[in-house]
Point group: D2
Chain length 345, copies 4
């Protein structure tokens, strides 16, 4: 049984694991104040060309999101997010648990627009309502689409004008950066946002997310927040060393590129088979629409999520590729699918 369920089924890329091995026996200062964390931070600051950014390494995405929002927002301040946003759907109310409302906006293709943000602001007029203060988006979105530079810039401009924080959840940021359709780089993201995180877990790290806080006033005392939320790893050098390895020679990009390439192979093969898609994506997730008969057959050999029912006979499934997906497994899947579809005639 091969799983296309997600991009975190395997452990770490061997190069990353190797670094962990290499420093394992060393004594290091705990809680993220070690030399490897420092090296990784410097590296990332160079890449984003922002020396005054504050960088923190956390273990997971939900943890990062909840720590950020608890830290940045006053109790009555709320987050605006697309209805597909991870914080709205798949974090068990972690944000609300810190006391903050998320204002859900129904979107198409998972992408928030400035018009929608403005509409939310217009509705929230006084102290009987929460005060929208942060815009949350994911790049790529939870359904694999990406924002263009122009779109991000427009949101960023609006946020500056309306005094909102702009935060990007980059759980799969690598995949967005390496998408064929992408026209934004990390340095630009650091210019456009108040904070964002670079996801490691879904791009070949054993665990870990690199939070970048761009706006200076949001940097104050952030380590207190990390500790208070139980998010400060004792042996922090193993977060630092992973990000160091990922960024010191481009490994982060290579892994994401591979994941995207595997998705593209799947997508092209499915297009050749005249398959339709729920949404058109150019990252490491694709959402082909298949007949339930075909799905049932595929499930004998592959695991994946059935994403959405389309009709009585059809459903969209989600196939996720990763740094660890081999071209041979993709070809095998395509071959199996071909046979199933031809058998359907």
């Amino acid at each position: 049984m091969y799983s296309f369920k997600n991009d975190y089924s395997e452990g770490a890329h061997p190069q990353i694991l190797n670094q962990i091995l290499k420093i394992n026996a060393e004594q290091n200062i705990g809680y993220g104040q070690d030399q490897y964390s420092e090296l990784a931070k410097e590296l990332i600051k160079n890449i984003i060309a922002k020396k005054d950014a504050a960088i923190h390494f956390l273990v997971g995405g939900t943890q990062t999101n909840l720590t950020v929002m608890a830290a940045f927002l006053r109790p009555y301040e709320a987050v605006i997010a697309p209805h597909t946003g991870h914080i709205l759907v798949h974090e068990t109310g972690a944000i609300e648990s810190t006391g903050h409302k998320i204002i859900s906006v129904a979107t198409t293709e998972g992408k928030l627009t400035t018009e929608q943000i403005l509409a939310v602001l217009k509705e929230h007029t006084d102290e009987h309502m929460v005060k929208p203060k942060m815009v949350y988006i994911s790049q790529p979105t939870e359904i694999g689409t990406i924002y263009s530079y122009a779109e991000l810039n427009k949101i960023s401009e609006l946020c500056k004008q309306k005094n909102l924080y702009f935060y990007i959840d980059g759980a799969r940021l690598g995949s967005a950066l390496m998408s064929e359709k992408n026209d934004v780089n990390l340095a630009q993201i650091a210019q456009l946002t108040d904070a964002f995180y670079i996801g490691g877990t879904k791009n070949g790290a054993l665990f870990g997310e690199a939070l970048v806080i761009c706006r200076q006033k949001l940097q104050t005392d952030f380590r207190y927040h990390i500790k208070q939320r139980g998010a400060m790893l004792a042996k922090g050098q193993f977060l630092g060393v992973q990000f160091w390895e990922m960024f010191k020679a481009g490994l982060y990009y290579q892994l994401a590129e591979h994941a995207n390439k595997m998705a593209k192979l799947l997508k092209m093969a499915l297009q050749d088979l005249e398959c339709e898609f729920l949404v058109n994506t150019d990252t490491n997730q694709i959402f082909p629409i298949l007949s339930k008969r075909v799905i049932a057959s595929l499930e004998k050999k592959y695991s994946f999520y059935i994403w959405q029912e389309i009709s009585e006979d059809c459903a969209a499934v989600r196939l996720v590729t990763s740094w660890a997906t081999s071209e041979s497994v993709v070809q095998e899947f395509v071959a199996d699918l071909k046979q199933l579809l031809s058998g359907a005639v």
Copy 2:
């Protein structure tokens, strides 16, 4: 300037105020453990025919809602509410502030259906999502409509079957109970729900809401929750004595009936003038659609909320009547409106 903005612009009905005066000089035990609170509780228990209910008097509605939800729900449990629900729109994130997510359901006429509740349950499948545990509705709804007994019973049955709590926000419960279309009484509400509150503030009390907790396991240690939320009034006798006065000889119903009657006078007059309404209501709120020219003229003499833009020229306004609205002011408003509309020809 006469205000139709809400039903809490004036103080208390003279009979209620008189009771406050009468006991003012007495010494009473504090924090709701006085004799008047006891009398009022017994009275209400008799009316709802539920001796094992627990009754608590709180000062306001938001306070009551947030104390209830913080008390009843475990951290990961969520509330299902219609998108017009007061807790979703007009309580500055008070519920989220206690850590709980509210799942918003888009409704027509402000009323939640069992189909919608079932759809929410279906979407929430595992521990990566919050667990829906309470159904919140308002009777009447925030836009003046009411649930029938059959509708409430259907929701109640579903809640029992799915192990959800059913809670009714009765900020304007009197107005629902006295609506011409109403077929539910307080005793039935106590049978159908796990908890509900009987609103005083919007029906002639100086302040105060009577929370009725019907399900026994939810009654445990509730006074701790009240105190922790800062919601325990020191001179609690003045809550008790108001509810005693309101319920000992039917004053609560009379006040609500008057409010409804005034709304009906307005509604009938507006219908005679061939006015349309945003929503058809039979309580103390009406939502006529008027031209912006007429609205502007009316605003010189009357205050009210412009509820929703309908077109470039028209908007729906909200007119609220209360126990304190006099028939003469209604007639004057109608006369003014008539003149304005004829002038429009």
Copy 3:
């Protein structure tokens, strides 16, 4: 049975109640934005000689404390308080419920010193601990003692130097202001603190506390916090009008003076009877030490709290007087006590 248990057993002083009656039938804007609240705010700003203060009227003390701390503090910031502080002992964890730790300091006579504050600061060195950010004291303290101007000034200076907020819980502030030993006025308190509240509930109001926020940066969006905590009274004019009446011609001081005078009569009579006291107080609370036999006899006719066991035979009791305590009841109590004590010989 006459109660010396507290200073909130009765309702409101007749003059205050009379104002409520007078405006009862009027329509007023809700939620504290009415004309009477404005008048009362202007009055208090004049008295404290601080035009840029922000004043808000809330219903009760716990509510005020929790709203203040939730509003002023970031999640990891903590409050320093004497171990007898109301927020530590008698508010059911209301402050912790908003997420903040209170650091308890063991004190004598309920009063915090700058040495103690400095010791707390010294212990809290990094992000593995909370960050002390607010000093909370009560004036008078929960055991009836008061801080001198010099003591308050020293704390204030330290707070400024160490960037701490200085907040005074003034539930019984009137009694402190009118104490024979007092050398601080309201204007000075406003100069020394970042915020404080003037208690109404325990000094003749039906309910209500006037929160004064002196530091401008803490004033921002405070109404959002009030609403979010369920602490915004719908018919806010009845808070405003009470404080207006209390302060427009000195009634607030007169009521407190009377309460203190009654306590002094009790204290002097007890001293004449060679009674000792747990703590020496000059406000409206006294803590005489009596034999348990005498206590048991007194309890047949009077109610009061047994505060602390002193020995197998003796205990300290708390006697609280108020604006409503009559001289005759004090004389009766003294006479009864005299008889009991002589009978003991």
Copy 4:
């Protein structure tokens, strides 16, 4: 520079790391529902002889403590803890951040007694105070002492009688279990407590704590709590596999035994040098009292915490040993110390 600062300066024991390597390339189900987590859970259930226990693997100790308390307690319920308790001192208010008060009890040698617990219960009488509901202790304590079976049993009995939860923070549980003075095993701890955790981070794991929930009613929906607090590791197999390795052939005990042995070598050498100790311990922490001159000299070559000033000239330092401390480094330290002390004469 060699560090005796803590027991988490190095990475993982090679055997544990080797297991991580071995399963790295495998696809596993995420979020702790993998086969290795299952194996580890079964193993631990066997060791504690409690088939109906629920076991969860979390990344760190603060995270585990806050998730447990947020999950087990109702909002007004509080924790009783010794004043040295980790949750009180070194978790940045993480527990209060979830809304719960911790009641601090001043203890000697960091150990809570039943008398102290009873005293706390006696003081908390009604709904104006929090309700003590959980007893928190650490085994070993934060200052290296351990509870005997008799002491734990007495607390356990009291908790059962008073309906309190008994929870043990086992961050260094291995060291307690392998202490020469220890007379309690894991199965007994599981019998005595409602929940406890077995610390991995401080005993040779790369990261990870194994939470054991013994009381069944506290097990319900616990994965929701884990997820909500951001404490659910995506690649959970790497938590499971570490605990599997640690417990399948006794490695956990061997590592703790080694740490204790190294501490004992230090302790004996120091005793030979007639050094006194702040507290007498038999685990992997010792607290010798040294002259400040000696401390300053040692600090050139070794790092450790200065724990407490004893006099103008002396201070107690904390030396922590671990699974990774070599006998040679201990001997070197002892030799250096000997020289310093002789030089002092």
